[in-house]
């Protein structure tokens, strides 16, 4: 059954703004890009102080006001209607999203080189998806911290990924989502080579 796409989703913030290098921040960026691309508004809401506490940093409530999604990739799947794609297209998307969920998203945020290498390893798949589609939104969210914080010598090792990143940044949905994202996460200082001086 395919329903009309929601005009808005409600993003309820439960905890303090997430740090930029966390999976919660990555998820937030994925949701914001997907919502922009789908033309769905995001209404922000703070959790009711009297409501039972949850460990989740935020959740998305769909238009039906009943369905709560805690997982950013599930929100992306909903906004892009991945479940309604033709079987071949759907499996192509599911397969690469599952790789992101099981491999990329569980990597240590501190190891920028490993994250970039993992992203580069999927570049042949990523380049087949236009910017701000489901796969691109998920990978951009997952790779953004590493791509935007790695120093030039490290980034230089991954030219194809850099090119992909530049294409994403030029997309209107990504452009519109980034300022909202930046305003709602806490910046983290990156020390690629920690020393006594820094």
């Amino acid at each position: 059954m395919t329903e009309k796409l929601a005009t808005h989703i409600t993003l309820t913030r439960n905890l303090a703004a997430p740090a930029a290098n966390t999976s919660a921040a990555a998820g937030l960026l994925k949701i914001l890009i997907a919502a922009q691309a789908a033309g769905v508004g995001v209404q922000w809401s703070e959790v009711d102080a009297a409501a039972p506490k949850s460990k989740q940093p935020y959740w998305v409530t769909l238009c039906d006001m009943q369905t709560r999604l805690y997982d950013a990739n599930a929100v992306v799947r909903y906004l892009y209607r991945v479940g309604n794609l033709a079987l071949g297209d759907r499996l192509a998307v599911e397969q690469v999203l599952e790789w992101e969920e099981k491999t990329l998203s569980v990597m240590s945020a501190e190891d920028l080189g490993a994250i970039l290498a993992a992203g580069e390893s999927q570049i042949s798949v990523l380049s087949t998806h236009a910017p701000a589609t489901a796969v691109s939104a998920v990978f951009f969210g997952a790779l953004y911290y590493a791509l935007s914080n790695a120093k030039a010598p490290l980034l230089g090792k991954y030219p194809a990924l850099q090119q992909w990143y530049a294409q994403q940044l030029a997309n209107a949905a990504v452009e519109a989502a980034l300022p909202v994202f930046t305003a709602n996460v806490v910046k983290v200082l990156v020390r690629e080579e920690p020393s006594l001086e820094n």
Partner: protein, 127 residues
């Protein structure tokens, strides 16, 4: 990955398992992702999440069997086997759901997956 294969099988043989509505589909995928992210060392937390979620509910998503139930069941089967009768009783929603799913899955399919029926007693253990 296993989740994509499960989606393929559902699409081929029983579309409803992937979720009847767009919202249900999103919830099903959320549970599948959670199952994938909770490795062997996090099964207790996952079981607790399932138990909390199932208070007043029969299935993980909406009111019908879906891939969410089947994938999560496969994930927690070994963990359930290791639980004491007291723990199974404490997590009564989780245990009741587990028992329902293991009796919904055909015995032949369970055996092929190398899983066996686990006897679950939902009565309070003797003190």
């Amino acid at each position: 990955g296993t989740n994509a294969v499960a989606q393929l099988l559902a699409a081929t043989y029983s579309e409803a398992l992937a979720g009847a509505t767009d919202a249900d589909k999103a919830e099903v995928s959320q549970w599948m992702t959670m199952s994938a992210r909770h490795g062997p060392t996090e099964r207790q937390a996952f079981a607790q999440t399932i138990n909390d979620h199932l208070a007043g509910k029969t299935y993980l998503v909406s009111n019908y069997l879906s891939l969410a139930d089947l994938i999560a069941f496969g994930n927690v089967h070994a963990f359930m086997e290791s639980l004491s009768a007291q723990k199974r009783f404490n997590w009564c929603a989780f245990s009741r759901w587990f028992d329902l799913i293991q009796h919904t899955v055909p015995a032949g399919a369970l055996a092929k997956a190398g899983l066996k029926l686990i006897e679950i007693d939902l009565n309070a253990p003797a003190p």
